[in-house]
């Protein structure tokens, strides 16, 4: 018989060999992981601190109500704010219904075949196309080919195409989170597919969809490159009044200020960034409130 395997009393399972060393390395590892995570936090804090200390003194009511000016103390964002509102509301008007409809098609209607898979892969690839390329698309199709020129409509359609994949993917996730039992119950009492979708699945998925849409829109608000390419004007002195007026947006106005060498304009740009961030944070807060308000009511 071989020797018994159980530990003898004098060979107890105490830490021997390299265990203390391994534990020491493990705790160093923990410290490094923590530091890496804190680096991200620190970057955010430094960034925000820098912007605020630079732009705080330039915040004023005039910043929101003045038109652009060559004198920094008189320059404001009013034209850019109305441009952003125009672009974003039109973008929403186009991309929201279209994106949700496409998501409904993919989740509720589409047969599981090769074409659907291609459609799906296409959408996820579109989501990865750099935004500046959408700008070139808008420049080529809306500004030049349709000959709209550098106007609100061209910019908004460009932004709509840019936001579409993001909205589709977010809406698909919201639809997928609705349990099958809900659909089956509706089918079970004889509802048609459209009835099931329109009066059962969609209402249940709306909070999720809205959250995704708000996030997509807040991303679109901060986009600079596509509108720079697809025709926002550098210096506009009147608010856009219709689809075919020239426009500028908040990030583009900020970019203009940044590209000037004078420190005053760069301070002003920091103040503009604070306005932009305030706008984005309030949109995100709305998204959070929407999500919590609705999800408190529903439990699957």
């Amino acid at each position: 018989m071989s020797a018994p395997f159980h530990a003898l009393p004098d060979e107890s399972l105490t830490a021997t060999g390299n265990l203390p060393r391994r534990q020491k390395i493990a705790s160093i590892g923990r410290g490094i992981f923590l530091l890496a995570t804190l680096f991200a936090v620190a970057a955010l804090v430094v960034l925000l601190w820098y912007i605020f200390q630079r732009g705080w003194n330039w915040l004023s009511w005039g910043l929101l109500t003045n038109p652009p000016s060559r004198r920094p103390e008189r320059a404001g964002l009013s034209i850019a704010i109305s441009g952003t509102l125009w672009i974003i509301s039109l973008t929403l008007l186009v991309a929201f219904p279209m994106g949700v409809a496409a998501a409904i098609y993919l989740e509720e209607y589409a047969p599981k075949n090769r074409w659907t898979r291609i459609l799906q892969i296409n959408i996820s690839n579109l989501a990865g196309v750099p935004s500046v390329v959408y700008g070139l698309l808008g420049l080529g199709i809306f500004v030049e080919w349709l000959n709209l020129g550098r106007v609100v409509l061209a910019g908004a359609l460009t932004m709509a195409l840019l936001s579409l994949p993001v909205i589709i993917i977010a809406s698909q996730e919201a639809l997928r989170a609705i349990p099958w039992s809900l659909r089956e119950a509706a089918y079970g009492v004889g509802a048609t597919r459209w009835q099931v979708t329109a009066s059962h699945v969609l209402p249940a998925a709306i909070p999720g969809i809205l959250t995704g849409v708000i996030l997509a829109v807040s991303r679109a608000i901060g986009e600079t490159a596509p509108l720079l390419v697809a025709g926002a004007a550098g210096f506009v002195t009147t608010k856009p009044g219709g689809f075919f007026d020239s426009y500028t947006t908040i990030p583009i106005q900020i970019y203009n200020w940044m590209s000037r060498p004078q420190t005053e304009f760069r301070d002003l740009a920091s103040a503009g960034i604070i306005v932009l961030l305030a706008l984005l944070i309030s949109m995100n807060l709305i998204a959070i409130i929407v999500r919590q308000r609705f999800s408190a009511k529903t439990r699957w």
Partner: protein
């Protein structure tokens, strides 16, 4: 008088027909909306190709792809070698990954393996905030803070516009992308694997680095590839902070112009329609599109090919 007999249909035929019509119309309208995404892709390809062909009527493709001089804005002596732009793009991408990969991956490990639910509840939104900041703000930060306050102090010869500051800012921007996608991959590793390793006496670090990371590797690598594609296409940061001097980039402390930076530079001036400069936008855009598309497809393929299914 309603009297139900077997063999008779009790459903209003008109109602049925109406429902049938609604059904069909709804289906087609929804399909049409989904098809818009395909049209977008076709639109991108057609616009870029058509306009790039105008460009290649004047400039040979070989010269474009192999030339090392890009002097688009010099009147009368324009040279169209795209490699300086590509070199700047690759340099920015590489350096930003050097920043973002270790920090992103380690944050992902920390968040999923080490952090208590409360710590996580604080740190996760911070990363999401970082992801939600418009890139123009990072560009401003790179130009007016990272370069003068950090790089100039370390290396006084740093140019006002330089590739390194832009790369660091791009790196910070893609950290949340890597962290959240890698964390998803790490979280999908079943806890039985962790428990098995702990039962053998492994420390937390050993479990994380030798069990969890290898098991989640396909998702982690996919997040790196997607981050690469994001860095290649990033525009405003490099346009603001890296400069507008198209040259082969060897020293990151010097300026360099990326492909995206060139596009912004041209549209910020006036490029009138029909000139080579105008068409060059689309040629550069086409190259950019092909590069990011290849990366995105590669990342999808990678996940499909190497994903371990745990059940």
């Amino acid at each position: 008088m309603p009297f139900f007999r077997p063999g008779q249909s009790y459903v209003d035929a008109n109602l049925l027909r109406r429902h049938h019509l609604t059904e069909k119309t709804a289906g087609y309208i929804l399909l049409a909306c989904a098809v818009v995404s395909v049209l977008t892709t076709i639109g991108i390809v057609v616009v870029l190709l058509a306009q790039a062909l105008n460009f290649f009527a004047d400039v040979s493709v070989v010269e474009f792809l192999t030339g090392t001089e890009w002097t688009a804005l010099f009147q009368n002596q324009q040279q169209w070698g795209v490699l300086p732009l590509v070199s700047a793009t690759l340099m920015v991408t590489l350096l930003s990954l050097v920043v973002a990969i270790p920090i992103g991956l380690m944050s992902a490990i920390f968040l999923s393996e080490y952090a208590s639910p409360r710590t996580r509840a604080i740190l996760k939104p911070v990363l999401e905030l970082l992801a939600g900041i418009p890139t123009i703000i990072y560009g401003f930060f790179a130009l007016t803070f990272i370069t003068p306050e950090i790089l100039k102090r370390l290396w006084p010869q740093t140019s006002v516009y330089n590739v390194l500051a832009a790369s660091i800012a791009v790196g910070i921007m893609i950290v949340p992308l890597i962290a959240s996608l890698s964390e998803d991959a790490i979280r999908s590793v079943p806890s039985s694997m962790r428990e098995g390793a702990y039962a053998l006496g492994a420390t937390k670090l050993e479990v994380s680095t030798r069990i969890i990371v290898p098991a989640a590797l396909s998702g982690i690598v996919a997040s790196f590839i997607l981050a690469t594609s994001r860095a290649v296409g990033e525009t405003m940061i490099v346009a603001l902070a890296a400069g507008a001097k198209a040259q082969m980039v060897t020293n990151p402390l010097e300026p360099g112009e990326t492909m995206t930076g060139y596009i912004v530079q041209v549209v910020s001036g006036d490029a009138s329609r029909g000139t080579s400069i105008y068409y060059s936008l689309f040629a550069v855009g086409l190259l950019l599109f092909v590069m990011t598309l290849a990366l995105n497809i590669f990342s999808h393929w990678f996940v499909r090919r190497f994903r371990e299914e745990y059940e």
